[in-house]
Symmetry: none
Subunit: 249 residues, 2 copies
């Protein structure tokens, strides 16, 4: 039996039984436990399984939680949220993407504001239920657990049918040449739709995202109306953005 073949069988067995024992595999695949251990260690190094004393288990799908990210860069995010909230006017229809910066924004929307907010983020929707007058429309679909947002075709098609005044978007990265970019293909697609559906596009991002480029393009810089960061708007880093017509806050 080939080594690869054996490792595939091991992976299949883990998927099936949610655990494997080195001793069992040794008998079943007719090789020594040493070999099995070597296989398990290799698979574990590739992150495909979790090696434990006596055998192996599937990898924990539980990714680093949204909760954890919620508290990083809190000061910067709050700074951005404060600038963003001034753009919200009564009667507007707004789309919010699922970033933690947007969550911060959702927290500080003044209670006398009366608007309609579309979102596909569970934490943001939940936060907005505390607001007395905002109408919330949640965009349904398959849930992405670590990000706690809905994704997929349902989301894309729902957003395509909207007409909004503003959209507030977090981003994976932004620079002048590549515009907005995202590490996740599905998210990049959804954000394209959000931009199409909105009169004005407002990008919220912490300074560490500026001049970062991620894998999937979302939109050229020209479609972005306003960029809000924690930096001072007069910072020279923004000069090329301003030349492209982006307003900086």
């Amino acid at each position: 039996m080939l080594k690869e073949e054996r490792q595939h069988l091991i992976l299949d067995k883990i998927k099936l039984n949610r655990k494997v024992l080195s001793a069992d595999l040794s008998i079943e695949l007719q090789v020594s436990e040493d070999t099995i251990r070597r296989d398990l260690n290799e698979l574990s190094a590739k992150g495909l399984i979790k090696k434990v004393h006596g055998g192996a288990l599937p990898v924990d799908t539980k990714a680093p939680s949204y909760e954890e990210r919620k508290f990083s860069n809190l000061k910067e995010k709050n700074n951005i949220a404060k600038k963003a909230v001034s753009l919200i006017k009564n009667g507007q229809v707004i789309i919010m993407s699922g970033s933690t910066t947007n969550l911060q924004l959702a927290k500080i929307i003044p209670s006398d504001i009366n608007a309609t907010i579309y979102t596909y983020s569970l934490p943001i929707a939940l936060q907005l239920t505390e607001h007395p007058s905002i109408e919330i429309i949640f965009i349904g679909g398959k849930l992405n657990k670590p990000a706690q947002v809905t994704v997929g075709l349902d989301v894309v098609s729902s957003i395509s049918q909207l007409r909004a005044d503003l959209c507030f978007m977090g981003t994976g990265g932004i620079n002048v040449e590549n515009g907005m970019t995202e590490p996740n293909w599905e998210v990049s697609h959804i954000k394209k739709c959000m931009i199409e559906a909105s009169e004005k596009v407002i990008v919220l991002c912490t300074n560490n995202k500026i001049n970062e480029v991620k894998r999937y393009p979302v939109t050229p810089i020209i479609k972005i109306n306003t960029l809000i960061t924690d930096l001072n708007s007069k910072n020279e880093i923004f000069i090329p953005f301003k030349e492209k017509g982006v307003k900086i806050l």
Copy 2:
């Protein structure tokens, strides 16, 4: 049994029963109490449980507004949830309505269960994001803030397109003559759709809802497959329900 596997079982059992005794676990898992104690100490060090003299408890969670209601009748609700969880099988498609009893159920679904759950309740969806293998589909629509669920035509039409094996439903009231009834018209309509979309209908309710009648009818008793309450299933109050073919748990 692998150490990690054992610790997972302990976590599941704590979720389910809200407490475990070292002595019980020792017998159940066929290891010494020393080992159990070491497991509990390790899990406690990771902050996953709270170790106490003689056993362990779940970690205390904070309790704001919606959360407060969640803890009223907690014992009864957990009792119901424990009975309900036994009905969930791998591979099923399940619809869950937005009651706090259902939230309790969402909390205790064992981590090795693999199913697809449709829901229109924010807290339930959020709770399920903690589960490693369940696929969650959120049904979008306009948010009802106090209940933290989506309502309206979008929800109705989404549910109409589903085919599910089970639906778990809370209820405003149930009796033999009027069947299930709801105080809210929109909710009654949504629940009708859920029943149409599901192979089996399982109603979860605390004893105070039995023989209550609310304003809007949802379904005659005949369409309900199983009724789960905190009472003993042999209680004479259930005799007329049983005569109508409802299974009592």
